[in-house]
Subunit: 232 residues, 2 copies
DNA sequence: CCAATAGTGTCTCTGAGACACTATACC
DNA sequence: GGTATAGTGTCTCAGAGACACTATTGG
């Protein structure tokens, strides 16, 4: 059977907003474009969907991120979809955008085509990428108020003072220590790691914590749950 | 210039989850499909993007909704995008899904190809439409907790007891009257209409309220703000 | 005056923040 | 013992719900 309205001269891509914390500030990973349009400009890593390899736009985003930056992000979620005839000079385009949160240490060393940039001091970005980054930052801030999202900005294990600093960096305001610990406890998403950690200085060491395995599992499940990964 | 990875045998559609309240229950508008696949099955109204007429997927969703149901919804927002090789038998597909909220009285009389169905008692739906509806309902419930979303399920004007009943229907639980009124007041989104309304019975009539014009304006603005409507 | 619903005043109780305290490391 | 940071006990205050009251209509 043939499509009623065959490919109406439209193309479909994915883009990834990868956010991380550096010097207590949100940074976004930019990639220098290989091709026209806007060749050699800093932009969000993105690319076409490969229908032969990708089982969803989520897969496409993960593949594009890995190909262009070498990163596999433990957290990669859909942000929204942008579209229109004018956003890309090549024609009517649809871009399904994902956002990733990673600890700074897994971002590879920057080089000529890879750059971490503070979200507050972005250069001119091509297409509508500036809007997209702004929306991603807003989403992360909003979700951080009531969820454990920022733990994905930490490494595998972390102390509560570290985690609190991460929350404060994301939200841009100080948090009450007691309230923070109460909140963490009631969310019940963390578990203590048997070991401890010495801060560099001369003081009591802090307990190490990690995300409870069920939580990571639940998050992975929520992907496949929604219709066998068809929700890309 | 040519596309690096030209249209990789993939097609892009929009679907609309139109929700309304009937008998104090959330209902979704289903449309009997005109064509294969799943011809004559009840499904979400949807269709292809027409790059010649649509300036965004938002425009496409509004057009599809108007064409198939005759409805122009005051609230139409992006839900998410579904994708994959298996969700539509015609091949690798991307569907950008929108959700609409309307008062029941603007839904046209049901006929052979148009049907309002309680979200709790959906028939078998083709594609991944059952998942999509579930996600839309969840989104509306979540947003209703902290926003004025449910006012779009009311008509132009309404009484506070009516609005409270709408909130209760959406959230599925009773709300404290005093707290509800405090909340409405602090959100500052409503204004009283000079007139009053008699309930059918013998009792004190209730004040009529409406959404403040600035709020409707702000909502319209938030569309165009994000990059000249490029966020479809 | 009665019934029925609209709308408000106020008490209580829960939860978040402020503050001060204790705990434990290195020097 | 001093200092610095981790972690906790408790007081206070603000906001949400419960309840009871007043207001206003038709009968």
């Amino acid at each position: 059977m043939s499509l009623a309205s065959p490919s109406d001269t439209l193309f479909c891509t994915v883009d990834v907003v990868l956010l991380t914390l550096r010097d207590q500030t949100l940074h976004v990973l930019l990639h220098r474009r290989d091709r026209e349009p806007h060749a050699d400009a800093w932009a969000l890593p993105g690319g076409f969907i490969h229908t032969a390899e990708d089982a969803s736009t989520w897969d496409a985003a993960a593949r594009v991120l890995a190909d262009k930056t070498g990163i596999t992000s433990p957290y990669l979620a859909q942000l929204a979809t942008w579209s229109g005839p004018g956003r890309d000079p090549r024609g009517w385009s649809v871009s399904v955008v994902y956002y990733a949160l990673v600890p700074a240490h897994i971002v590879p060393t920057e080089h000529d085509r890879l750059h971490l940039c503070a979200v507050a001091h972005l250069p001119e970005l091509p297409f509508d990428h500036a809007h997209i980054v702004a929306e991603a930052v807003q989403r992360v801030r909003t979700k951080s108020v009531y969820s454990s999202l920022p733990v994905y900005l930490c490494g595998e294990t972390f102390t509560l003072p570290e985690l609190q600093a991460v929350y404060e960096a994301v939200l841009g305001e100080p948090i009450n220590k007691v309230s923070f610990r109460r909140k963490v406890e009631e969310l019940a998403m963390l578990e203590p790691v048997p070991g401890e950690r010495q801060a560099g200085g001369a003081h009591r060491p802090a307990q190490l914590w990690r995300l409870r395995p069920e939580v990571r599992a639940a998050w992975a499940l929520s992907l496949s749950e929604r219709g066998l990964n068809s929700r890309g």
